[in-house]
């Protein structure tokens, strides 16, 4: 993107470039997001910053003066010692395209999922309250959010499976068929945990239990679903009496490790013991999968499930891509038009001065109300014509076909 003095740089990783084991190491938790924004804003040359960290990506977008390249320092602050293979770096138009794709859910593991849009909104709010969003990134993120809403409203991209929570529950259905004879435990009472619970309830789950670090929160959420609740102290006992465990819990370290599960009990169960880990960092020790009757899936595994469904949404994807290019064009036109602001103000002032001068020359102090109205209206109309012409010029500064080629090139490089 080209603004008079600032240029965009984006650095990060996502499920496309980094496995969950890497993503969980560098994820920025909700509580740390404001601090992270503040830290990045102190990097030399960085004027504005926006950090997005979800279970599937962590990335920083900054605006810096032309010629300055803060990416090395960004990597050092956010992704110290990461294998560079896992990172992507975008600048200019590519950075805008990337942000738009993320907000539209086109870069998500589950195509068109809606959770990422909420996460972009939350990051936008945090960045704004931290004072690190300015005239460049502010409108850009705002436009990305608007595009995200439009894509989901006007295309079929989000129809059907809408989130990893939905995919997780669908996988559970491939094991148990109906949930009517099934007991489920949801670890974590956050947004994803609630979403999982909703899908399980829709599936007719027989018994649902919430476990959470804060028992009170688990209790509140459980009440919404007519479910049971407990704290993590009851973990082992609860895991022994459930058929499916879905983890969506924040925090370091494995909450469910091999020792918590009774291997003998699980191996003697009629049905497989299903564990779905939607947490980043992962809450389930990967060695749990070594137990013979256990089926364990993490976010990367669910991503593979999603891939099998992608081809079915080809048309919706094309619609979304077309919409994204149109919005890119609109955004760049607006940005270019905004660079005309000082010129517009000067033009406005000049039109008024000329109008007053002409009025003085013709009528002096004896101008009738009719003459005054005529002069004002004429000046206003002429100004509108001039501004309209400027808008048209802005529109053609970066044509839609050029942006479409840029977008195709971006997709080819993915």
């Amino acid at each position: 993107m080209s603004t008079p003095d600032l240029e965009l740089h984006l650095v990060g990783f996502s499920h496309r470039t980094a496995p969950v084991a890497v993503r969980e190491r560098f994820a920025v938790r909700g509580n740390d997001l404001a601090g992270c924004h503040a830290s990045i804003a102190t990097i030399e040359g960085v004027r504005e910053a926006f950090v997005l960290s979800t279970c599937n990506r962590t990335e920083a977008l900054v605006a810096a003066p032309r010629g300055a390249d803060p990416t090395r320092e960004l990597v050092s602050r956010l992704f110290r010692n990461i294998d560079p293979e896992h990172l992507y770096v975008h600048s200019g138009v590519d950075a805008v395209i990337h942000l738009f794709r993320v907000a539209a859910g086109l870069d998500s593991m589950v195509l068109g999922e809606s959770e990422v849009l909420s996460q972009v909104k939350r990051s936008h709010d945090t960045a704004r309250s931290s004072g690190v969003l300015g005239k460049t990134l502010g409108p850009l993120v705002h436009h990305a959010i608007a595009l995200g809403k439009r894509v989901r409203k006007e295309t079929a991209i989000g129809e059907g499976t809408l989130s990893v929570a939905r995919v997780g529950v669908d996988v559970a259905a491939r094991v148990f068929g109906s949930f009517e004879r099934c007991r489920a435990t949801v670890l974590g009472a956050g947004e994803t945990g609630v979403l999982v619970a909703r899908y399980l309830k829709e599936g007719g789950i027989r018994e649902l239990t919430f476990l959470n670090r804060t028992e009170q929160r688990a209790h509140e959420v459980a009440q919404q679903f007519g479910a049971r609740s407990a704290g993590l102290d009851d973990l082992a006992a609860q895991l022994a009496r459930t058929d499916v465990v879905i983890c969506a819990i924040d925090g370091e370290g494995h909450v469910v490790d091999r020792d918590v599960l009774s291997t003998r009990d699980i191996d003697r169960r009629d049905r497989p013991y299903l564990v779905i880990d939607l947490s980043v960092p992962r809450a389930v020790d990967p060695r749990v999968a070594d137990i013979a009757n256990v089926l364990l899936y993490d976010l990367d595994d669910l991503g593979r499930v999603v891939q099998t469904n992608l081809s079915q949404r080809k048309d919706a994807l094309e619609d979304s891509n077309r919409m994204l290019v149109a919005e890119l064009h609109k955004f760049f036109s607006l940005r270019t038009y905004q660079t005309f602001t000082p010129a517009i103000a000067a033009l406005h002032e000049r039109f008024e001065r000329v109008r007053d001068e002409v009025l003085d020359q013709i009528a002096g102090d004896t101008a009738t109300p009719e003459q005054l109205r005529l002069a004002h209206e004429l000046a206003k109309r002429l100004l509108d014509v001039s501004l309209g012409q400027m808008k048209e010029s802005a529109r053609y500064t970066q044509s839609e076909s050029v942006l479409e080629s840029e977008y195709r090139r971006y997709l080819e490089n993915l």
Partner: protein, 278 residues
């Protein structure tokens, strides 16, 4: 066209018809990219089953007696009942996922039966009284159920392994869920067990009553038959046996199917044979 010619024509038509039905059901694994043949798939199987039943009807009429009278008509009858049971299951569950495999087995059974059958409708079975017919019918029904149990058990194991290996391909997407496969394995095993219980008892009674030459409880084929009866009995009630998981029941059903095929061979080859059926 006389009855013998019609019987022969239909018998020759059945294997390709089952093959087409298997292929149409197999297309379900192609998902949305495959041609949508739901109606054609269902009707091809209905027609195949009806024509197969008609074949036996023609034989029954021409012979004036029970038409299952040798190893190959027994095999053909087994194929018919496997197809019929599957058709009923497909109508009930509306799930085409296992049809490709089940009907491929039906095709192979019927191909062998058609290839080896004499198409001789002049033989009579005057000695086939009600008990003998009951024996044959229940054994054929039981064998069909056991074939279905074994196939569904094998498919359970395939899907379970795919899910353990995190391979989410067409098998993951289009086979029935693990729970349904396990249920079909056990329910078919229970049907097979009931059929075998009746069939074997009637058969043993007939062997004693008719003093069939060469019949002995120590014959490998008899021992294997009783072992299969016990084997599928355990599978049928495995839900109530602690530690006999769906996965283990599926293993047992799949291996039981192999044992059944071995028993069929042992029962009908001359050295071990004790049946009057040849």
């Amino acid at each position: 066209m006389n009855s013998a010619q019609l019987y022969q024509a239909l018998s020759v038509l059945l294997p390709p018809l089952y093959l087409v039905a298997a292929a149409l059901h197999g297309m379900a694994f192609g998902g949305d990219r495959a041609p949508q043949v739901k109606g054609l798939r269902t009707w091809t199987l209905h027609v195949a089953v009806l024509l197969h039943a008609l074949t036996f009807g023609i034989a029954d009429r021409a012979l004036g007696a029970f038409p299952i009278n040798d190893a190959w008509t027994t095999l053909s009858a087994t194929a018919l009942f496997v197809a019929l049971f599957y058709d009923l299951i497909a109508v009930r569950t509306k799930h085409p996922g296992t049809g490709g495999v089940v009907l491929s087995v039906v095709f192979l059974l019927q191909l062998a039966a058609t290839a080896m059958e004499s198409f001789d409708l002049t033989r009579t079975n005057e000695g086939y009284d009600a008990f003998r017919i009951l024996h044959i019918a229940t054994i054929v029904l039981a064998a069909s159920a056991v074939v279905l149990s074994g196939i569904h058990g094998a498919l359970y194991l395939v899907l379970f392994r795919k899910m353990r290996a995190k391979e989410f391909g067409p098998l993951f997407s289009h086979l029935p869920d693990l729970s349904l496969l396990a249920r079909m394995t056990r329910q078919a095993a229970l049907s097979g067990f009931i059929g075998l219980t009746i069939g074997l008892n009637v058969g043993i009674g007939l062997a004693h009553a008719d003093k069939i030459e060469g019949f002995s409880y120590t014959q490998p084929s008899v021992i294997l038959t009783i072992a299969i009866w016990l084997h599928f009995g355990v599978i049928a009630f495995s839900r109530y046996i602690k530690g006999f998981t769906a996965r283990r029941a599926s293993w047992a059903a799949a291996t039981g199917l192999i044992a059944l095929l071995l028993t069929v061979v042992l029962t009908f080859i001359p050295h071990f044979a004790f049946h009057s059926v040849r």
